[in-house]
Amino acid sequence: MSTRHDTAASPLKGGAAPGRPPRGTASASAKDREERRRKKLSRRWQRDMRWSPYAFVAPFFLLFLAFGLFPLIYTGWASLHQVELTAPTDMNWVGLKNYTRIFDDDFFWNAARNTLTIGIISTVPQLLMAMGIAHILNYKLRASTFYRVAMLAPYATSIAAASLVFVLLFGRDYGMINWALDLVGIDPVAWQDDKWPGQFAVSTIIIWRWTGYNALIYLAAMQAIPQDLYESAALDGANRWQQFLHVTLPSLRPTILFTVVVSTIGASQVFGEPLLFDPNKGASGGAEHQFQTLGLYLYEQGWINQHLGRASAIAWMMFLILIVIGIINYVISRRLRASS
């Protein structure tokens, strides 16, 4: 790296100060020249120093405003209007009507409950397994890079491809999972038709795609824990489990919080997996809406039933729920910190 810097910087040296006298033998006139040059440059220099930071962040923020921040706020505005997909630019003010409607809508609450349960079924085992795998990967192992790359492979798979494969694996009559269950004497499960099996299957797709990724994040944080902590814990007589409990876990707390937040956000938007898990029912998330998530419900309201205003209200409700979960998270993590 350093050689690259040197070669990169060298043309500047020649260009900026031609014929600069060697250090220590500078004559008075050379000093004067230098002084004048500095003054001439200083105004341009100051302008550069003051404004170029803004120029560097400007392209990002311009796009960010147009495609990130503006739509975010505008969703709130749209949620107070009646807007139909067929004429997305005609907006009629209806106040809070969209919100009261979805409050009275059983399917909204059904989708909210499903999102919560799928979120829990997918996130909790995922993070626990990721933690265990990270702990193992932290040992000295042969071919450790191979395991890391292999368990990141699901991350490279798209939601569409993964969901279609799992639909086959979870097939009721000829799916591999029911076949394997049959081997150990368990009756076939109607994964697509029953509520909890359906939610479990949808969660499995999520767990499969993200466990390796989270394991790598935990591993990175574990490797940053100083070795001395373990040594002094061992001197105090802590066994390996106690070391994990009293050294590893506390050191990992910020990382755990980070993965919980990211997974919660991910879980709040689950969309493709339940959509594709029952391709014929599509947006309703199973015949009985048994695995319809809020993301899917938003899509159904907005693009199937064509009520964009109501869909906007669902989007804002999702945001509010996330904020509430965020606050609960924050309170719990503060409690944990205070108690330790």
């Binding site: 990002f60 975010l72 492979a153 991350y155 061992a234 990382t255 945001f319």
Partner: protein, 303 residues
């Protein structure tokens, strides 16, 4: 001054080593402990679970649908792989879809990397009014689900008459708050202030500093971020699914998902399509897997 002698360095280390060797094995956890057979067994099981659905996609794609509707399910390859791949390729219009997805993911990866690097540099190394607030805004929006903005985005796209056009997918994917955060974290550490100061002393303007100092220093992180964004954009489903129909400019994911629709779908064709949609990224992973793993781990620590 008393002349209490501090023990000479070599003695300390040897003393420490003595202590260490007297410790129970459990003391040397984390990195220095060698994994036993149980550790290997767990890892191998997990590796198989990770890879099995991918391998089985290829197996199912090499069979015909009748065979997939039998028990036990096939565990080894049949002879229909190339026939199915060919049919899936033409039926789902995957040639066009690949071209579209490559264009979208390529443009967004390059743009995100460049914009994130210069913005990340400004946030990491330059002082300016509003820096803290703007950075907080960037981090804050990383926490907001993208579904919160799809409806106005859809309205914009409809108003601009971009439905079914690639630019409808490209423009929203040009920005990544995560990218800015990632580059900022990297440059905070990887770019010493002295190098920037040295370039300044030599009279370099900010733009020359970016070109000759920041870009070379950030190259490894730029490569990783580029790959991450490419993978993410390639796999993106919700937004392309909303604005691109199968008939007009589908991306690979939209085309593959389309294969699964219909009441009597041909399972082996669906698997062939899923395999084709995943293959390019698996190849990227096979070649750059190590770097991608390193990048994800690097981005994680300095959170």
């Amino acid at each position: 001054m008393t002349t209490t002698v501090t023990p000479p360095p070599p003695e300390t280390t040897s003393a420490k080593e003595q202590v260490r060797s007297r410790l129970p094995k459990s003391a040397r956890a984390g990195g220095t402990l060698h994994g036993g057979p149980i550790a290997y067994a767990i890892l191998i099981v997990f590796t198989i679970v990770s890879l099995f659905p991918l391998v089985w996609t290829a197996i199912a794609a090499s069979r015909d649908t009748q065979r997939l509707a039998q028990t036990p399910p096939p565990f080894w390859f049949g002879s229909n792989l190339f026939k199915n791949l060919e049919i899936a390729w033409t039926e789902a219009n995957l040639g066009e879809a690949f071209l579209n997805t490559t264009i979208v993911a390529g443009i967004s990866a390059v743009t995100v990397v460049i914009l994130s690097t210069i913005a990340g540099f400004a946030f990491a190394k330059l002082r300016f009014r509003g820096r803290g607030a703007l950075m907080l805004l960037v981090i804050g929006t990383m926490m907001v689900p993208p579904q919160l903005s799809i409806i106005p985005l859809y309205m914009m796209v409809a108003k601009l008459d971009w439905t079914d056009q690639l630019q409808a997918v490209i423009f929203p994917s040009l920005v990544s708050a995560f990218g800015v955060f990632f580059m900022r974290q990297y440059l905070l550490q990887a770019l010493p202030d002295e190098i920037i100061e040295a370039a300044r002393v030599d009279g370099a303007s900010s733009w020359r500093v970016v070109w000759h100092v920041v870009f070379p220093a950030a190259r490894p992180a730029m490569a990783v971020l580029g790959m991450l964004i490419f993978v993410q954009t390639w796999n993106d489903f919700l937004w392309p699914f909303l604005v691109l129909t199968q008939s007009g400019n589908p991306t690979v994911q939209v085309a593959v998902a389309g294969l699964g629709r219909g009441f009597t779908p041909d399972q082996s064709l669906i698997m062939a399509g899923a395999l084709l949609g995943t293959l390019p990224l698996l190849l990227v992973f096979a070649v750059f897997g190590k770097q991608i793993v390193g990048g994800i781990m690097q981005g994680a620590v300095k959170g």
